[in-house]
Symmetry: C2
Subunit: 102 residues, 2 copies
DNA sequence: CTAATGTGCAACCTTGGAGTTGCACCTTAT
DNA sequence: ATAAGGTGCAACTCCAAGGTTGCACATTAG
């Protein structure tokens, strides 16, 4: 959970995810679209991999990265729980004020 | 967007949000539930405030913090876009394989 | 074999995050 | 007026994140 949100907290990593959602790519290809070196992209991909958001498989001399969006559902679920608790509290406040005003 | 995900990336801050979703509280009250000092909590609350996730209003000698979950919707929306792009790619792959196998 | 392309790993630098302590200020109770 | 509770601000430490360069290893093209 922490790893997932931490992964999403970086603009470069979000761009990588946006790209990988549309097509597989290698670290070198991805670096061409970003103002950083290929090694920096490799580090980002490692972070995404640790968060379970990306999967790497080697094909010949290149390593292709693919999105694995499963953990994103967990993130949305956590946010949803906070939102539900908030909504429940609002409902309780409305009930406390009385049904006539709710 | 970066600020929102960065705010969610810290376990202490997620706990603060979970608590604030259920009830308003002061920095001192919130610090009682966490293994850190009141000043550390104040810093976290400042981060949450910068991300637009929390609102502070002073009442007498204490400052009460309240959840403002608006930015959470933006976060969910971003995740949703990535998920949609991913789903679209999967659909395109299925179509490419042919309707008979899809 | 040799050159070129794609990777991976390690060292290094710099900056910011998370936490602490210390202190000064404001507000309320006695 | 004075003490106590609640804040806010600043300085300091520690460590990890993001980025870089340099180099060694694997794989394909000539």
């Amino acid at each position: 959970m922490t790893d997932v949100f931490a992964a999403l907290a970086d603009p470069s990593r979000r761009r990588l995810l946006e790209t990988l959602a549309r097509r597989e790519a290698t670290a070198t290809e991805l670096a061409a679209d970003l103002p950083v070196t290929r090694q920096a992209v490799a580090k980002h991909l490692a972070a995404l991999r640790d968060a379970g958001l990306v999967d790497a498989h080697r094909a010949g001399r290149e390593t292709r990265y693919r999105l694995t969006p499963g953990p994103l559902e967990d993130a949305v679920a956590w946010i949803g729980e906070v939102g539900d608790a908030w909504d429940a509290r609002l409902d309780a406040l409305r009930r406390h004020l009385g049904p006539a005003r709710g």
